[in-house]
């Protein structure tokens, strides 16, 4: 049992150039832009809270992993991408889907398993996908998205395009073989890709120090001669700037490894009470909330005031309530569509048998007249 509260690893340990660049860029941001970041973070927060409620109401099935605590990371990272860039991510991806520009209604409808969901009800919480917004998947298998993302970057390079792939992963994923193979391939072939480790300190309940022999995960980039950095994932501006630098490198054919240090404010999934956390850590987390911290900073700077915060909360509440209403009123997929997506190229002898049906129609019994 871990007795020591984990310390959030943040900007002071990041390479010095990183924090300096972030401050300069932050100073150049207009108040409107800063408020937009704040509003987007609130949107992710309230959306996830609404998703958790729908889960407890049994309107959402399966697993449901939330971005609570990672709002600044999500918003900052997505702000660094062009609409034409691609995102591959894991199963904790609702916020990314919304910040890629996908209508919150469609994201919620996917959670409800309805036809209007981004994946038409076939994917659920872990498998959001939207070609238009170039979200090429939430993936439920840890590490599964890394080779795919490297391959997407290979396709871009093959065609001579200028898009970039961003591939996010959790801290636990840095221990899996696909991580090593994908970073090695990306570096060998100079692919336009940024790997982003969202380090929230915990796998499910296993800490980074218990799963990685090099717990400063960004340092693993050195094994592939890949430039890497660590950034404070509670600061959306610093995260955006670090991501922008990484994306720019990738666009020039230099893959990049970015570690974003953040927190997971709740359990691994909605149903996890996180009893493995010490009382000290729970107490610390109660006072460490990226939205409150960023809100307080903007308020102190004069970019935000209580009326603005109230207006943002009201606007976001409307979006989230509408999303839940939309999802609830969207129809379930027709059972007749069950066999529509097994193959992209139709093929003879593709089975369309339901569980109780025989493979062949039974023959009439001998001697029995119909």
């Amino acid at each position: 049992m871990a007795s020591q509260p984990r310390q959030r690893r943040s900007a002071p340990q990041a390479p010095p150039a990183e924090s300096g660049a972030a401050e300069n860029a932050a100073a150049g941001d207009q108040d409107g832009q800063l408020r937009k970041f704040y509003r987007d973070m609130v949107l992710v927060r309230r959306f996830e809270e609404r998703a958790a409620r729908a889960y407890t109401e049994a309107l959402v099935g399966g697993y449901c992993h939330l971005n609570l605590g990672e709002e600044a990371a999500v918003v900052g990272l997505m702000a660094a991408l062009r609409p034409t860039d691609y995102l591959f991510t894991n199963y904790r991806e609702h916020g990314y889907a919304i910040m890629r520009g996908i209508d919150a209604n469609l994201v919620m409808a996917e959670l409800y398993g309805r036809v209007d969901g981004v994946s038409k009800g076939w994917g659920g919480s872990m498998h959001m996908f939207d070609v238009t917004h170039r979200l090429l998947g939430g993936y439920g298998i840890v590490g599964g998205q890394l080779p795919l993302a490297a391959g997407a970057a290979l396709a871009i390079d093959y065609r001579g395009g200028d898009e970039v792939v961003m591939c996010t992963l959790g801290d636990g994923t840095a221990a899996i073989g696909a991580f090593h193979e994908s970073l090695n391939i990306a570096a060998l072939w100079n692919l336009p890709i940024v790997f982003v480790i969202i380090n929230n300190g915990l796998g499910m309940g296993t800490t980074v120090v218990k799963s990685s022999a090099e717990p400063e995960l960004y340092k693993r980039g050195a094994a592939y001669r890949m430039e890497s950095a660590r950034v404070d994932g509670f600061d959306p501006i610093a995260t955006r700037d670090a991501a922008a630098k990484a994306v720019e490198a990738a666009r020039g054919g230099k893959p990049y490894l970015l570690e974003v240090v953040t927190e997971r404010l709740r359990g691994h999934s909605v149903v996890d009470p996180a009893k493995y956390r010490s009382a000290e850590e729970v107490e610390r987390l109660a006072h460490e909330d990226p939205i409150q911290l960023f809100g307080a900073k903007l308020t102190a700077n004069g970019a935000l005031d209580p009326d603005m915060i109230a207006a943002i909360e009201e606007e976001v509440a409307g979006i989230v309530a509408a999303a839940a209403d939309f999802a609830a009123s969207s129809p379930h997929p027709e059972v007749a569509t069950l066999f529509d997506y097994t193959y992209a190229t139709p093929v003879p002898n593709d089975s369309r048998r339901l569980p109780g049906e025989p493979l062949f129609e039974p023959l009439p019994l001998p001697g029995v007249n119909a």
Binding site: F88, S119, I141, L154, E181, I185, L359
Partner: protein, 345 residues
């Protein structure tokens, strides 16, 4: 028609498809500079360059996944897995990703990917290099699995696989690479999902795929000559989808079936074929469906042990004779008499 080896048919088809379509490219271990472990890709690096003939690190999961990701963006990668045994390192990418992406995301992205790989034992390569695990892939909806047994099918099915928008596991066989046959000069793909009746007959249906379809054809020809038997040979060609209609209609005609496979019997492809015959032709059967399959051991290195474990022509002939004896087949009377001591003591 041109007579060529199975190897040459594969090589020429890869080359022709690369010339036809810029989005077709090759990836795999040692396929470029080394020209492939089995030389299927010989000369292609020189002709097409590193962009389209890509030597990969030894990272099956990584490069299979990279091929899948490239396919999602519309390229048509053809991956060579040095042997099917090594494809197990990429199972997560093939089964959890390639086979799932079209369905799991509601049809928004397809995966036009081919994984070419040889299976097969009999080369004294020992337990880990002699397996036939195509079943793993044939088990999974979303995958297509084809297994050509001759040079003409090697060409026609490879054309089909490359032009298909789904992930196709293309099973080759070490023992078939040097076999020769007539190959049409045209450019017509086979239809995935269809078996072929490579020899029509009335006395018994002999079913196989890949090397065992080749063995089936040889045994049928040999028994026609020696015993006057009229055996129908069904070459499955496609393991997923499985062409049950062709199997069942053949058995309805012949009333007896022997199924050949190079993999282990328990839970094998033959089990699925036998169950399909039971479902579709139970009332037509005059004898139990017989399966000829590998002994259930990790394949040994020792030549006599390896030979004993793998299905041979004699095993196939014995199974046919015993099945026909059980049927009480007219043409098999002399054979039935031979077998009676075994079957009816």
């Amino acid at each position: 028609m041109t007579i060529m080896t199975y190897r040459q048919a594969l090589h020429d088809t890869l080359r022709a498809e690369m010339l036809r379509d810029d989005s077709v490219f090759l990836m795999g271990e040692e396929i470029g500079v080394f020209e492939g472990s089995y030389k299927i890709t010989a000369g292609l690096l020189k002709e097409f360059g590193e962009k389209r003939v890509r030597d990969t690190p030894i990272a099956e999961e990584g490069f299979a996944g990279a091929a899948i990701g490239a396919a999602m963006l519309g390229l048509r990668p053809v991956v060579e897995m040095m042997t099917i045994n090594f494809s197990m390192l990429a199972l997560d990418q093939i089964i959890n990703h390639a086979a799932k992406i079209y369905g799991m995301f509601g049809g928004q992205a397809s995966v036009p990917l081919v994984i070419r790989t040889p299976g097969g034992g009999g080369q004294q390569l020992g337990a880990t290099h002699s397996q036939n695990i195509e079943l793993f892939y044939a088990f999974v909806p979303g995958m297509k699995v084809v297994a050509p047994s001759n040079p003409a099918d090697a060409k026609a099915l490879l054309l089909a696989a490359i032009r298909d928008n789904d992930p196709v596991l293309f099973l080759e066989n070490l023992a078939l690479y040097n076999t020769k046959g007539e190959v049409p000069d045209d450019d017509i793909p086979a239809e995935i999902g269809r078996a072929a009746i490579t020899r029509p007959g009335r006395d018994l249906t002999l079913i196989g795929y890949s090397r065992m379809a080749h063995v089936a054809a040889e045994v049928a020809a040999s028994l026609a000559e020696s015993d006057g038997l009229d055996i129908e040979v069904v070459d499955l060609r496609s393991l997923r989808p499985l062409d049950r209609e062709t199997i069942v209609s053949s058995v309805k005609k012949t009333h007896a079936a022997v199924v050949l496979e190079d993999d282990w019997l328990t839970y094998g492809i033959g089990a699925e074929v036998a169950a399909s015959i039971s479902d579709g032709a139970f009332d037509y059967l005059d004898a139990p469906v017989r399966r000829v399959a590998m002994a259930e051991v990790p394949l040994p290195y020792s030549k006599p042990l390896e030979t004993a474990a793998l299905p041979s022509r004699d095993d196939v002939i014995a199974a046919i004779r015993q099945t026909l004896a059980a049927v009480g087949h007219r043409a098999a009377q002399p054979l039935a008499a031979q077998a009676i001591g075994v079957l009816q003591p």
